[in-house]
Structures are given as structure tokens and as C-alpha cells.
């Protein structure tokens, strides 16, 4: 049982981070804290993908030793055309001498990090605008001010319409 848990330490950490992030995103009243929760959630996803890419005993995914493509050793020879590299990829995986980790999830996460940065900066920009418009960044206060404004608007409308009717 203990072994089962310890073997999956990464995943426990990811689940923990994810739940903390989700909880903050839902429960925090301060808008910046809410954004921190969302960011934490996204970061835990990056960890999840990176964990998926790791292969036990694998090394960094750069071809080395006997796996080096013939002809372009040390990167100075004729580079193999990209098409043949892709077309032959499956066969090339089969007879690799060294175990490599899967690089694809890391690359995917580079994209996800960019998306996360964009989201975070847009969220912060929105908070700045909310602070300018409302003078507060507490979700509760903002909601209360909206309700008050709504009521004032309804009363003003009533006045407008009754004057128009009279």
C-alpha cells in the first residue's frame, strides 16, 4: 500500500496542487487570489504532462552515442532531409540503443505555458480595469455595488417613464 502511494508521488502532488488551485479559484473573494488559483491549476497540468513524458531510466531526448544519425555526426555533415526523418521515425524508434524520455509532452507544455501567461496577463489587466471602475477588487463588494446600481437605474427608469406618460 505504502509502495503504491510512494511510486505515484508525482501524481499525488499533481492532484493536491490541482485541488488547491480549484478551491482557491472558487472560494476566494479577492480577484487576484482567484487568478492565483487558476494559475496554480494550470501549472499542475504542466506537471502532469511532464510526468507523462518521463520514461523510467530514460535520458534527455537528444540522440547520442550509437543512435547518432550516420553522416551528420557532430552536426557538421549533410543533414538528412526532414521528410525521411519523419517517414522513418517508427523504424528508428525500434532499434535505438539508449532509452530516451518522450519529448512531445514538454513541447506541448511550452504552448500551454504561453496560453497560461496570456490568460494571467489578461486577467490582471481586467482586475486593473475593475479596480478603476469600482474602486475595489473584492468580488462581494463588486456584486453589492452592481445590485445597488441596478436598483438606482430601475428607479431612474421609473421616473423617466412616468414623466413621459404624464
Amino acid at each position: 500500500m505504502l509502495e503504491f502511494i510512494l511510486e505515484r508521488a508525482n501524481y499525488w502532488a499533481i492532484i493536491g496542487l490541482m485541488m488547491i488551485g480549484l478551491y482557491i479559484a472558487f472560494s476566494a473573494e479577492n480577484l487576484i487570489k482567484r487568478l492565483i488559483g487558476v494559475s496554480l491549476f494550470q501549472t499542475s497540468i504542466c506537471l502532469f504532462y511532464v510526468t507523462l513524458g518521463v520514461i523510467a531510466g530514460g535520458t534527455a531526448p537528444v540522440l547520442l552515442g550509437p543512435d547518432m544519425p550516420k553522416g551528420d555526426a557532430a552536426g557538421h555533415g549533410e543533414a538528412a532531409p526532414a521528410d525521411s526523418l519523419v517517414a522513418g521515425a517508427t523504424e528508428r524508434f525500434a532499434d535505438l540503443a539508449v532509452t530516451y524520455s518522450n519529448p512531445l509532452p514538454h513541447v506541448l507544455m511550452l504552448t500551454a505555458i504561453v496560453v497560461g501567461v496570456a490568460t494571467l496577463s489578461l486577467g490582471l489587466a481586467l482586475i486593473v480595469r475593475i479596480r478603476e471602475a469600482y474602486g475595489t477588487i473584492e468580488a462581494d463588494d463588486v456584486r453589492q455595488m452592481d445590485i445597488d446600481a441596478d436598483r438606482a437605474q430601475a428607479n431612474a427608469d421609473d421616473r423617466d417613464f412616468s414623466e413621459a406618460g404624464a
Binding site: D83, V86, P105, A112, V115, A118, L122, A149, F161
Partner: protein, 511 residues
């Protein structure tokens, strides 16, 4: 006929690269508009761009219909799938592309008067740049065949949408918290989706959706696949405003600029729903035990709950835009109910309603945009007497409202009829009763507005002019006439929806 004419007129490079061009046009134009900073020029350029994308979408439809396999595969950068990113267009993608591009053109034509009224001059160029990014993201979701690429396009469109919604702050500051809540919810939805894709990748070792689909049958009973399914359904359900994950929608629709509401209501939730359908029917198959269980235990009850509860909520709203927003969630319920049957007939009914609802809500929000521009108010009371003072706008509104209710000879009736057939065929006659009941509620919430508009004396003291400008009336009436035309002769959309349902199901064709 039109499709064939467009196909003949298209130059060879468009025919060859149409799948990529739909995304490239708006993606290239957006930064140019952001640099130019000229509002009127940006509007004209956006119209040209959306029109070019519509042209490509029609070309794609023609190609799909004439292709023997019904699938067009386009390898981006000539990197072959499954390793490279693939754009894969079949009848379902073509339908969604046509819908998004068509609504994009119509709402862009109409946008200029409302943008002049609602967006300050120095922001107009940037506004259209954000719109084109949003448009590009939606088109990309509808064309890509790669699960991770779909996430990226989903986020491109969502991030642009948050900006567009927040720009409503020029008129009403409540747009800002609405945009922020949308951002938090939307980001969580996309994150759930990407976790699900991660699980599928862990189980199958590929990100190409057709490739995942071909590997899943060997993985029956795999927990990672089932967990991935759950995450993807929740994530896309959030984006598609599936009840009860719709909390972001009413405020986002009510406070964003009129043009944005009109465009989003016709496209954004539809595209997310497309992605959900693609995963439910093409990547996973309705035959899987856990998926059948989720159809019966999750989708059908939630669809029905949306239909009934949100229609009730719509009855009690005072702002017309909120009435329409709640009604949108209810209509998503019809589509979810259609696809939850898990049959080709149910799915085609759901897809037909998806198209018809885009036409209906597009027309309704266009009319509301016109009223908002000329009468500066969107409460039900502001609509009093408008049937007399703005007959052209309100007649189109009334036609679309009748179509939303589902009166015979309108498009809304056709899709509800198809949904009814599919439900009866499945033996769910009680669900038919609930559909009728929900339509009855629609009579209340739309009837309240129509009653105010046509049977009450004009009250609104803030009127500046009577009718909406001609630029708005033309697209509005195109959609209103489409509502009637498709209600009488539904051959074209119904054929498209049937082809699309078969394409979504046809695992063989999809692979």
C-alpha cells in the same frame, strides 16, 4: 448550385489550400489591423476577411460533397499525420465552418453603427483585431484534426472573447466582472479539456483524433480513457454552456457590446458543442459502455433540465438580452437532448437545431442591437410600442421570435419536429412532452416582449431616431427571411445536418 458555381470560380491555389487559408486569412489580418489603428479601415478589412473565409468554407463544402471518401485531409507544413498537425474536413466540419463564416460576414456588415456608438474611436482598430482573432480561433477549432491543436485554437478564441466582452465597459461597467468571471470559468473549462486530452495521450500515445479513435477500441475498460472522457465532457460542456455549467453566459451576453453578443450567441457555444460532438461520436464511440451510461444518466437529464429550468428563468428577466441569454442555454438543452439519443437521427436533429438556433438568435440579437442603438435601452419596458415606431426592425424580431417558439412555417418548427421524430423513434415520448412544455414557456418569455412591442403605446422617452440604420436592417432581414425559407423548404440545412451526422458517426469514413 451556388456551391458548384463557387467551386468553379475558385483559383487552383484556393482549392488546394482552402483548409489552411480559412485560418490564415484572419490570423494574418488581425495584427495588421492592430498596427493600423484605423476603425473604418479595420471594419472594411474584417468584412473582406470574413467574406474570403466564407468563400473558402463554401469551396470546402463543395470539395467534401464531391469527394469519394467525404474527407479532406490537409497536412500543415507538409508534416504528415499522425505526427504532424492535420486539418481534417468532413461534412460535420464543413457545416460548422459554413455556419461560423456566414454568421461572421453578416454580423461584421452590421457591426459598424453599433461599434461607432459603443466603442471609443482609438480602440476600434484593436477591437476588430480581437474580433478577427476570435473568429480565427473558432474556425480553427472547427477544422483541426489534432486534439492539442484544438485546445490552442479554443484558447485563441476564448482569450479574444474575454477582451471583446470586457470592451462593453464603455457602456456598462458590469461588463468587467462579467468578463473576469468568464475568464476564470473559461480557463478552467479549457484546462479540464487539456487534462482529458492528456489522459487519452497517455493511453494511446497519439494526439491525432482519427488516430486516437482507431486505437481506442483495443483499450476497453481502460480507466485512463474513461477519466479522459469525463474531463473532456466537463471541459467542453463548460465552453458550450451546458446546464449547469452556464453561469458565465447570461452576464457575458448581457453586458458585452451588441456586435459581440450577436456574434458569440450565433457561433461560440455552437463551436464548443461541435467539439463535444466530435469527441462523443468520432473519437469515442456511442457504443462504449461508459458513453452510453453518460448519455442516459448525464446528457439527457441535463439537456431536459436546461430546457425547462432556463426557460423558467427567462420568463422572469426584465432585460431582453438576459431573456435571450437564458433562452440560449435552454436551446443548448435541446441540442444536448438530441445528441444524447446516441442515434444518427437524434444527432442530425440536434445539428439542425444548432444551425437554426444560430440563425434565430443571430436575428434576435441583431434586432436588439438595432433597438439598443436607436432607443438606448434593452429592458422589456423599453420595447413598448416599438412595433409602431420601428416596424421594420420589430417585424424581423417577431419573425425570429416565432421561430424560436417553434411556430409552423418557421425554421425553429422544423428542427423541433425533427427532434420530436427522433425522440418518438427512440421511445422517449415523455421527452417530447417536455419539449412541447419548454416551447410553451418560450411563448411566455418571447410573448411578453412581443406584447409590449405591438400592443402597448410607445413609452420610451429616449428615442433618437425611429428605425435602425439600413446597414443593420439588411443582414437582419436576410436572417429573418432565412428563418421563414428554411421553415418551408428545409431541404438544404436538413441535408447538411444529415450528412454531418453520418460523418460524425461514420467511424470508417472518419479514419
Amino acid at each position: 448550385m451556388i456551391v458548384q458555381a463557387v467551386l468553379d470560380a475558385a483559383p487552383a491555389w484556393v482549392i488546394q489550400h482552402a483548409p489552411a487559408l480559412t485560418v490564415v486569412f484572419p490570423l494574418v489580418m488581425a495584427p495588421i489591423l492592430a498596427i493600423l489603428q484605423n476603425g473604418r479601415l479595420a471594419w472594411l478589412a474584417s468584412m473582406a476577411t470574413t467574406a474570403a473565409v466564407l468563400f473558402c468554407a463554401i469551396v470546402l463544402l463543395g470539395q467534401v460533397q464531391s469527394s469519394p471518401t467525404g474527407v479532406i485531409s490537409y497536412a500543415i507544413g507538409n508534416w504528415l499525420p499522425p505526427l504532424g498537425i492535420e486539418f481534417r474536413i468532413d461534412a460535420l466540419n464543413a457545416l460548422v465552418l459554413l455556419l461560423v463564416a456566414g454568421m461572421g460576414v453578416l454580423s461584421t456588415i452590421l457591426s459598424w453603427p453599433t461599434v461607432v456608438a459603443e466603442i471609443s474611436a482609438e480602440k476600434r482598430g484593436l477591437f476588430y483585431a480581437a474580433f478577427l482573432l476570435c473568429f480565427c480561433g473558432l474556425i480553427g477549432v472547427a477544422s483541426t484534426g489534432d486534439a492539442f491543436n484544438m485546445f490552442v485554437f479554443l484558447e485563441i478564441s476564448s482569450l479574444a472573447t474575454y477582451v471583446l466582452v470586457a470592451l462593453g465597459a464603455g457602456r456598462d461597467r458590469r461588463a468587467l466582472p462579467a468578463a473576469f468571471n468568464y475568464l476564470v470559468m473559461g480557463t478552467l473549462g479549457a484546462s479540464f479539456f487539456i487534462i482529458g486530452v492528456g489522459f487519452l495521450y497517455a493511453a494511446t500515445g497519439t494526439l491525432n483524433m482519427a488516430d486516437i479513435a482507431s486505437k481506442l477500441p483495443t483499450l476497453t475498460g481502460n480507466r485512463a480513457v474513461q477519466a479522459g472522457f469525463a474531463f473532456i465532457v466537463v471541459g467542453l460542456g463548460l465552453k458550450a454552456a451546458m446546464w449547469p455549467l452556464h453561469q458565465w453566459l447570461p452576464n457575458a451576453y448581457a453586458y458585452s457590446p451588441s456586435f459581440v453578443t450577436m456574434f458569440l450567441s450565433a457561433t461560440a457555444t455552437k463551436v464548443a458543442l461541435y467539439a463535444l460532438i466530435r469527441f462523443l461520436f468520432s473519437v469515442f464511440q456511442p457504443g462504449y459502455g461508459f458513453e452510453q451510461a453518460s448519455f442516459a444518466m448525464i446528457f439527457a437529464p441535463l439537456g431536459i433540465a436546461a430546457m425547462v429550468i432556463c426557460s423558467f428563468q427567462a420568463v422572469f428577466q426584465t432585460d431582453v438580452r438576459r431573456v435571450l441569454a437564458y433562452s440560449s442555454v435552454a436551446q443548448v438543452g435541446y441540442m444536448i437532448l438530441g445528441l444524447s439519443l446516441g442515434t444518427a437521427m437524434g444527432l442530425s436533429a440536434g445539428l439542425l437545431h444548432l444551425v437554426n438556433h444560430a440563425i434565430i438568435k443571430g436575428a434576435l440579437f441583431m434586432a436588439v442591437a438595432g433597438i439598443c442603438l436607436t432607443y438606448h435601452g434593452t429592458t422589456v419596458r423599453d420595447f413598448a410600442g416599438l412595433g409602431r415606431s420601428a416596424p421594420l426592425t420589430m417585424t424581423a424580431f417577431a419573425i425570429a421570435a416565432l421561430s424560436l417558439i417553434g411556430v409552423p412555417l418557421t425554421a425553429g418548427f422544423m428542427s423541433k419536429l425533427q427532434l420530436g421524430y427522433a425522440l418518438f423513434e427512440h421511445g422517449w415520448w415523455w421527452a417530447v412532452l417536455l419539449v412541447v412544455f419548454s416551447s410553451f414557456l418560450a411563448v411566455f418569455y418571447m410573448g411578453r416582449i412581443l406584447q409590449a412591442a405591438f400592443f402597448q403605446p410607445p413609452l420610451n422617452p429616449r428615442a433618437t431616431r425611429k428605425e435602425a440604420p439600413l446597414l443593420m436592417l439588411v443582414p437582419l432581414w436576410i436572417l429573418a427571411i432565412a428563418n421563414i425559407y428554411f421553415g418551408i423548404d428545409a431541404e438544404f440545412p436538413l441535408g447538411l445536418a444529415r450528412d454531418a451526422a453520418v460523418a460524425a458517426f461514420g467511424a470508417e469514413a472518419f479514419r
